[in-house]
């Protein structure tokens, strides 16, 4: 059994790292993976989202994703990495310490496993970038720039760094044996739940759902989708933190789940609406990728196929329910895709990790029931904490700088209004 990454990242790093030697192949793959995961956010995700909004808000989405990229990077340097990955001493179950604030003590020769620690810092940073960027879909087309900025800062601090520490940094969930290879809880549940809470707190866009708000440029969205798929190889196979069979299997199952979920979503549309659609198939892809994420280092190809089909189905249903039944304007459907997918994958991981399913097998002494218990606990804990802390963050932001542009500004569009720019002058 190899519960490898959790253990590796969580516990052995500080202590055992010195014992290992730098491996140039592992380093090469994680350097590459870092580039791939940054690529997922800029331009990947930002194009995916930008295509889905109306033309008058296209730049606002690009601006939000880009700003978050920069902001998260600076915060990561100052205290984020340290809170997430350094030892928190007495409160280590909950949060890391400040020993590595300003990346203190990390030099050219510092190793983390078989990698330079700088590479580990960069790789993990790209996760801290994409997670708040995913939330943009929940409050798109109506948030003020200043509010988005402040919210992202608070959210990283209150939600991302702690949860990352819980699961990967030596905190209580990792200790409890939670399997989350590349971020089902840390990335997708946190982002999905935050987007839902933001949609509820900010309220719907003016006119929703009566006024049509069709995507203004699906070529951008499909372009972004392709980039996300490719970049996700870095996200999941990079999370092996090595260039080996674990990475290879992670890439393979990631790919299978994406393909299966895409086809599932398209098929469901075909059955239900009479036609498949390109927005549907790429949404299925994101669902499949998000759902396999926590499981990608643990399951085999068959598990991945089932996870993919489940992801396509459940996220399809959830998207329709949030939008049409509950009429919640989670504008770019972050919760039904990432939140639901992340939770689904975290739970299914507890099943398909079984060796009988071609998975990596349970930890010694762990049973399927036990593992599922841990997985459910992880999902619930992250979900509740994220919901509460996001709500608090939004209330603070509202108090300090407000949340939304006013209605006339919303009608005019955020691009002109917030940035004095226009997307297209064709």
């Amino acid at each position: 059994m190899k519960k490898l990454p959790v253990i590796l990242w969580g516990l052995m790093l500080p202590a055992a790292a010195q014992a290992q030697e730098l491996n140039t192949g592992d380093t090469a793959w994680i350097l590459t993976s870092t580039a791939l995961v940054l690529f997922m956010t800029i331009p990947g995700l930002s194009l995916f989202y930008a295509g889905l909004v109306r033309a008058k808000n296209v730049l606002s989405v690009l601006m939000q994703c880009f700003t978050i990229t920069c902001l998260a990077s600076i915060v990561w340097l100052i205290y984020g990495y340290s809170l997430a990955f350094s030892d928190g001493g007495a409160v280590n179950a909950w949060i890391g310490g400040l020993d590595k604030a300003w990346l203190a003590g990390i030099g050219r020769d510092t190793l983390s496993g078989t990698l330079p620690e700088t590479v580990f810092v960069m790789f993990q940073l790209t996760f801290a970038i994409i997670t708040p960027a995913l939330i943009v879909g929940g409050f798109a087309e109506r948030i003020k720039y200043s509010s988005m900025l402040l919210f992202s800062l608070l959210w990283l601090t209150l939600v991302y760094f702690p949860v990352c520490h819980w699961v990967w940094g030596g905190g209580w969930l990792g200790e409890a044996g939670l399997l989350d290879f590349a971020g089902g809880t840390v990335v997708h549940i946190t982002a999905g739940v935050a987007a839902l809470v933001a949609a509820l707190v900010l309220k719907e866009r003016t006119g929703f759902p009566a006024t049509p708000m069709p995507p203004h440029n699906l070529t951008l969205t499909v372009t972004g989708a392709g980039m996300l798929w490719v970049g996700w190889f870095g996200f999941n196979a990079g999370s092996a933190v090595a260039s080996n069979g674990d990475a290879g299997m992670a890439m393979l199952v990631t790919h299978i789940s994406a393909a299966a979920a895409s086809l599932t979503w398209a098929a469901l549309e075909w059955v239900r609406h009479g036609k498949p659609s390109v927005l549907g198939i790429v949404t299925g892809m994101v669902a499949g990728l998000g759902t396999i994420t926590p499981a990608s280092g643990f399951v085999g190809p068959l598990g991945a196929l089932i996870i993919g089909v489940s992801a396509g189905t459940l996220c399809f249903i959830a998207t329709n329910m949030i939008k049409r039944t509950f009429k919640i304007d989670d504008s770019l459907d972050v919760f039904p895709v990432h939140g639901v997918g992340g939770a689904l994958g975290t739970i299914l991981c507890g099943v398909f990790v079984a060796e009988s399913w071609g998975g990596a097998g349970y930890a010694d002494g762990m049973t399927m029931g036990g593992q599922l218990g841990v997985q459910f606990m992880g999902v619930a804990a992250v979900l509740v904490w994220t919901a509460v802390a996001t709500w608090v963050a939004l209330k603070i932001v509202k108090m300090l700088v407000g949340l939304r542009v006013d209605e006339d500004e919303e009608t005019e569009g955020l691009d002109i209004n917030q940035y004095d720019e226009k997307g297209y002058n064709l």
Partner: protein
């Protein structure tokens, strides 16, 4: 027969269309336009280079109507396109000499 040209704010289209439909109008043609008038434009700024944009996005509706529809149609537009804010637009009415429906060759009021 008259040809009504209405310049309206883009987000008013659905409402105006519905009102015209209710007034018995069964067709119209819409064009994207940019309008200059009393409504203040905005400034765009690209790396410090400032552009004053005083043409604002509008829609231009062209509606051919029979003489007895014209008042109702003008009324329908002027009511629903009105947001009470500057820049709501204009309605122009012109006399039309001839109308043809291409598909059938019908002319005059029948063509509208």
């Amino acid at each position: 027969m008259k040809l009504i040209t209405a310049i309206i704010k883009p987000f008013k289209l659905e409402e105006v269309k519905q009102a015209l439909f209710d007034a018995g109008v069964r067709g119209m043609t819409v064009t994207e336009a940019r309008g200059f008038g009393r409504q203040k434009g905005h400034t765009e700024l690209y790396r410090g280079a400032e552009y004053v944009v005083d043409f604002l996005p509008k829609l231009k509706l062209e509606i051919a109507v029979t003489d007895d529809q014209v008042d109702a149609a003008v009324e329908a537009v002027s009511k629903t396109a009105n947001s009470g804010k500057i820049g709501d637009g204009k309605i122009f009415v012109l006399a039309m000499e001839r109308a043809v429906r291409i598909r059938t060759g019908e002319v005059g009021d029948d063509a509208i």
